[in-house]
Amino acid sequence: MTELHWLSATEIAKAYAERTLSPTELVRALLDRIERLQPRLHAFIRLDAEGAMEAAKAAEAELANGHVRGPLHGVPVGIKDIIDVAGLPTTGHSKILVGNIATKDAVVVSKLRASGAIVMGKLSTHEFAIGGPSFDLPFPPARNPWNPRHHPGGSSSGSGSGLASGMFPLALGTDTGGSVRNPASVCGIVGLKPTYGLVSRRGVFPLAFTLDHVGPMTRTVADNALLLDVLAGHDPLDPGSAASNARHFGALLDRGVSGLRIGFVRHFHEIDMPAHPDVTAALEDAERILQAEGAIVDTVTLPKLSEFAGINRVILCSEAWSIHAPWLRERPEDYGALARRRLLPGAFMTAGDYVGAQRRRAELIAAVNDKLRDYDVLMCASSMDPASEIEDAAETARTYPRQARAPFNVTGHPALAMMSGLSHNGLPVSVQFVGRYFEDATVLRVAAAYEKAAGWHKKRPPI
């Protein structure tokens, strides 16, 4: 049997059904692993060992009585620390919110609890999902299990680090400019930014209202679909929530890609932002694998990456400033230097900049929709480089913005990043798949076919 800490949610559910594993046995094994790895990886801000064991005992009793709530019943999950879990602090990894105890679960956490999932605790993030990796905060930054000298990506850093190191099989992240998909890319896991509006953000500390998404992070594509099944659904109290009927996100996972049309956006990594050769080689391999599986792959062109990035930054900075202005005015010293520097530009944006960016955004959405009329899915780079060394601030500053994720925060299309190989120095590199609105299931279908053919999900970090 696979070591307990590497079991997927799918395998855990099967083992529970066969009575070869119990929730308390699994949670105990994971707590032991967390105790051993946390001092090196810092994935957790707040581990809730007691709460997790209580939930495991409750799940065990229900399962023993034949009451199976669903496929996530008794499955452990980590929660990024900008998402409220009742009774635990939501700090945003910031001194500003130290001691801020959540009184209610976020909607996504309520849904997880109702499904029987076991909340393990709160996970490291970049400060307020924007400022990091930082060493001037109340908690240390998470590190990459593939090499702890390296950055695990962000801002959902603890989610990526904890999944890749076998601390839990499921995690929640958030994504405003790529923060689910960046850790997925550099930690070798699967991260989906769902269609804008598919998953409620109520109870999640906002960064930028019209760009924010909550997304499932997992080690396998099938687990990602299972987690999205639980998270998705209309929330009339979230103004950004869509009344969509999209469901059953794993329904197409076994269909393969034969006959699907995939548009490969090469100019992102070849011209707009030339990628590291290891990233480029892995993308070419991914194209060959998908073609061998029967997909039709053509090169397509979208607006330049720099324009998507500019629009993302104008909107993000403007909206984030409206949230943080009171604290920036009164408590600037309580922010880490990176968050302060990344939040302050909003003070210098004009109303015209903001509205102009939102108007141009509509044109960029039309450009992506136009391509998605001819192609089932788009494929492109995610990170242009393997993870930087976390203490090399200059290299992190150089590589961090070198990404092709922000375009799909601007447009709201579903976008998934996953491992596509290892760099020459043994760090994960990645590929990204993008789909039509509310066709997240098709994105997961392509990802599942690629995962099965490429097999990168079987690689484990040497930790």
Partner: protein
């Protein structure tokens, strides 16, 4: 520091930041200009923003 930037920072209520972290103010102003310059604003006067301004059945 450019006096216009200092004036804008004060107008935004950032006196404390200006006093304690003046380099952050200069950096932020430069960043804001760079981000805004990267955007090609629509030339069609009727181009509407996204998310759309939606008039629901009840306001």
């Amino acid at each position: 520091m450019d006096p216009t930037i200092a004036a804008l920072a004060k107008a935004a209520g950032l006196d404390k930041v200006l006093a304690k972290f003046p380099a952050d103010i200069e950096h932020a102003a430069a960043q804001a200009m760079g981000h805004a310059e990267a955007v090609k604003y629509p030339t069609d006067p009727a181009a509407e923003p996204w998310p759309p301004m939606k008039a629901e059945t009840a306001l």
